[in-house]
């Protein structure tokens, strides 16, 4: 059980630890500033000052709400893959491609050997951690997802690309650990898209985390998990952070067929709707989780990052998580 590992790391958490998946909505002043920065109207220092201000707001907000493991809210990031692609060596920014509806992003192109230029996220983690005594998660995107969400013009195949990226992300993990980070989340939302490549995803995660002293979480969402379960449990992490509520907890049925052997950060609120769940609904979801995994294994959080919600909606969704967890502890 991973709680032992957390204790060994000096991290003491209550039953049903509460956390969030990573991103929070950017306050209006920051969204506006990012637009102005892109147009060259303000400098990087001015933008960073506002990103720090927004980060401080979200750390304070999480503390007030009573969350147990905090995130920095990713005020300094846009897309979770592009952020790393813009900083790691070997990438070129691609043109716009559609994400959904009228949403587009610059999909990166791997045009050379990928290399680690030095710490990418560490300063932000150190800043966020300096604002609170509670543990702040290090937040990275996994090698398999960066590979899957990038075009590749350099490596011979997808496996070679994923492993090369894993070696790079490992260096970032090592840098976070050296800075004092105990809990590191490595997001792999692409984990289930090609079930036939699960072995590659597992090898990449092993390359990233093997032998390193931290509690590892991976977040995955939008997936056909029935096609990769229970094989996905071989991923070298301690905790799977999964979107559960958006699909009416249907994943629980999948988990009934084989014991869920890792900790689970159980998504108890749907992040893709403006509608707020009732407190009783959220509590009921935690109870449902306990039908399949033991209470020691369960963390409570939203389905996914909250960046597409308004700040008020995000705060209310977080409150629902905390309230449900506290009720279950009692």
């Amino acid at each position: 059980m991973s709680r032992k590992k957390l204790t060994a790391l000096g991290v003491k958490l209550p039953l049903f630890p509460t956390t969030s998946v990573g991103s929070f909505p950017k306050p209006e002043y920051l969204a506006k500033a990012r637009g102005e920065f892109n147009k060259g109207k303000i400098g990087a220092d001015q933008l960073q000052e506002l990103e720090r201000k927004a980060t401080k707001f979200w750390i304070e907000t999480q503390e007030k709400l009573g969350l147990d493991v905090l995130v920095d809210g990713e005020m300094y990031r846009g897309d979770m893959v592009a952020y790393f692609a813009e900083r790691l060596l070997g990438f070129t920014q691609g043109g716009l491609v559609r994400s959904y509806g009228n949403r587009y992003y610059h999909k990166p192109i791997i045009t050379g050997a990928v290399e680690w230029p030095g710490p990418v996220t560490v300063e932000w983690w150190k800043y966020a951690q300096s604002l609170t005594k509670k543990p702040v998660k290090g937040m990275l995107t996994g090698a398999y997802t960066i590979m899957d969400w990038s075009f590749n013009e350099h490596y011979t195949d997808r496996h070679a690309t994923a492993i090369a990226l894993a070696e790079v992300i490992r260096k970032e993990v090592e840098a976070l650990i050296a800075a004092g980070c105990k809990i590191i989340q490595i997001d792999e939302p692409a984990l289930s898209v090609r079930p036939e490549e699960l072995a590659t995803a597992i090898e990449a995660m092993e390359t990233t985390t093997k032998g390193l002293d931290a509690y590892f979480i991976t977040h995955a969402c939008y997936g056909a998990f029935e096609r990769i379960y229970p094989g996905m449990l071989d991923l070298a992490v301690d905790n799977f952070d999964l979107e559960m509520s958006n699909n009416d907890l249907s994943l629980l049925e999948v988990f009934r067929h084989h014991p869920f052997t890792k900790d689970i950060s159980f998504g108890v609120v749907d992040v893709h709707t403006h509608t707020m769940e009732a407190d009783a609904t959220v509590r009921e979801r935690v109870k449902k989780a306990m039908e399949v995994v033991s209470r020691d294994q369960i963390w409570v959080d939203p389905d996914c990052g909250l960046k597409t919600r308004t700040p008020e909606e995000a705060i209310e969704k977080l409150r629902l998580c905390v309230t449900a967890a506290k009720a279950m502890r009692n």
Binding site: R98, Y100, F151, A190, Y222
Partner: protein, 361 residues
Amino acid sequence: MSTPAPGLYLSSTGSYPRVGDTPDLQILRRTIAALDRGDRTTADLLDAENEMTRRAIGDQLKAGLDIVTDGQIRWYDPISHLAGKLENVKIGGLLRFFDTNFYFRQPVLAGKPVRRGALVVGEYSFARNALGHLPTPGEKAGKLSIKPVLTGPYTLAKFSHVEPSGNGAPDTLASLEHRAMAYAEALAAEIAALAQAGAELIQVDEPAAIKFPEDWKIFEQSLGPIVAARDKVREGGRNLELALYFYFHDCTPLYDKLVQLPADVIGLDFTYEPKLAELIQSAGSPKPLGLGLVDARNTKLEDPEVLAWQVERLLPKIGGGRAYLGPSAGLEYLPRDRAFAKLELLAKVRAAMKDLKGPKA
């Protein structure tokens, strides 16, 4: 009914990027955003869609294609664009579209999906008209055609959700088979209407059929109404061919079954399994094939000489000596400049072929 001449045709596989990086290629994106803010009208949106559709067709002509599409510029996604126009269908939350990083809105069925009006006939008619008004290269005069594209009934059904029992949805809809047949009936009526509007080749995409082979019988059965609609059009004396396209998964395990399907053309994605070309070379195909040899999911440009060599080896093994060279899937997964480069690549492949008979513009 006349059959197209043998040869290698250059064909779009469906979608084309709706935006580019320059301001003039952002009009649709900006108009939709302005419409959402209440600063534009639906008439403005229609203008922007029309303009980008003309540009998509223009790019295909410029690249030298023989068979073009409207680029599916107006489509929110391949699922909800069609399903959302059917009665008893609401549009729900976002789901990932296969192994892409693109998301579609899931149809939620409150009852049997029923076609009460045209789905894409208006879009097809606009595109056909636009094609007629765009400058046509001299050697292509009278030889160009436009192909409407539909998502097939099985794929629509597979990605639809049924409202929980008690909310009015009939229990029968819980069955994938019933949902697929309901969509098939709706699409059959659309096929008849498209033929009436002048379509002579209609592409029906069924990517889910190769991803979920366990449902093969349901998929096969759902083709019944569509094939019947095609046959009825032909009995009426009109030309109509049905092309079934499969992508986003390895086609080799089902290859033997795919080429026996009652369609006139079978379109295949070659990018998931390089051995597909070898398989076709050894097994042959009893009917014309869509050769999705150009990777629609990666920016890297293939070597036209290598692809030409592959096509030269495949063409003699293909029924009727007729094939349609195209991207492995719709091109909207690429940035616009790369999508156009992939289209140009198609013409380079054909130009690089040594002994090609038939269309070689």
